[in-house]
Symmetry: C2
Subunit: 227 residues, 2 copies
């Protein structure tokens, strides 16, 4: 029994090493095309799509926006995001619980980068595996929503370590839940001391000025950088 | 690139076939020991632990309860569940986003089944991979919580296909969220026409009579069956 387990672990480290190489290629390609790629990650139902729609509305007069909607199955979000004014492709992972760099590259090729400045990947709803798979994004952003509880950084630490920004989502329902924002921020700080943490509500718009401000600065820095 | 993908898929089907064999062994072992094993699955923060605590309190005068708390990391839930009166073991999956049958069997051996009638496995918070891995439980139970949204059965169909009962959790906050219970039930029925769906609140206790009633009947049927 132990032997089989060790075999599985070896396969996994090979997969991750291969993925890291592919992620490097994606990053180089996106740099050449001057497209800023954001890998957006969160639990199922944390509000990724609603957050994206509001973000697209805030950015679309300034940048041409693309979205890759990753799902195990279904395409319920793609139409919503398209209606907001983004160029959209639906990616089905065929049962896989995360996007890897190779799947991401195939989505990028299929969508075409000619008329896109900023590309969002809405990853599979999952706090575990997407954190392990670098897809070659310029920035990784996570949403932890208030109903999930303030202790999630303790339980799924890698996600909070690898991200560049954390939104605390559905902040408008904080009064209804027993969510200790200070405790949550403390757990996050221990894992990732310098990461900005922005409470937002995609419903009311609270916190979006700070999120859009951070994002615009990062996009501009990316676009200004030498190839 | 395609070749590598096919390789990964092959590895995965081997893993699932091996797992199904191991799950058969777990099921046979638990039948011999007369311990009723429940595999409890849900997204991060859907309320698995709070639901377990209330369930333990409802059952503990009648049955001796065991709990296996599976986590990628941390042991924040184990103490809570132990305080409720269950015999508890904390399992760390070492980065894996689901429990498999072999990990489950090792937990069962370590915990010891001599003084347990009903054993709960609190699986990793994830709607994708835990659905693929049969751990050898007598029954699989899922919680979908109201803040996650009514469309989750469309996006993570396998979880709703493989389960024997679904709780719609955090039903007390339904007035705060745009959750269409009828639509949710319809999506679930299309995937799993006969599965009972019980709205519950682990906070207020709403719906727990129906859940405990179903669970007790299943436990009694299991205990009454011939080995």
């Amino acid at each position: 029994m132990n032997k089989r387990e060790i075999d599985i672990l070896d396969v996994k480290s090979d997969v991750i090493a291969d993925n890291d190489r592919e992620a490097g290629k994606v990053r180089k390609y996106m740099r050449e095309k001057k497209v800023f790629l954001v890998n957006l990650m969160a639990s199922p139902g944390a509000g990724k799509t609603t957050t994206l729609v509001r973000t697209i509305n805030a950015l679309k007069d300034k940048y041409r926006i693309g979205v890759m909607e990753a799902d195990v199955d279904s395409d319920v979000d793609a139409a919503t995001v398209q209606a907001a004014g983004a160029k959209v492709i639906q990616l089905h992972t065929g049962g896989s619980c995360h996007m890897d760099a190779n799947m991401t590259f195939r989505g990028i090729e299929q969508l075409g980068m000619e008329d896109i400045d900023v590309l969002f990947l809405e990853n599979i709803g999952n706090l575990v595996c997407p954190a392990e798979f670098d897809v070659g994004a310029a920035k990784r952003v996570a949403i932890l929503s208030v109903p999930e509880g303030d202790d999630k950084p303790l339980k799924y630490p890698l996600m909070f370590q690898v991200c560049d920004l954390l939104m605390i989502g559905k902040i408008d329902v904080k009064p209804v839940f027993n969510f200790d924002e200070e405790a949550c921020r403390k757990y996050v700080r221990e894992l990732n001391p310098t990461m900005p943490v922005i409470p937002v509500s995609a419903k009311t718009g609270e916190g979006f000025d700070a999120w859009i401000d951070w994002l615009t600065k990062e996009i501009e820095a990316f676009r200004a950088a030498e190839v």
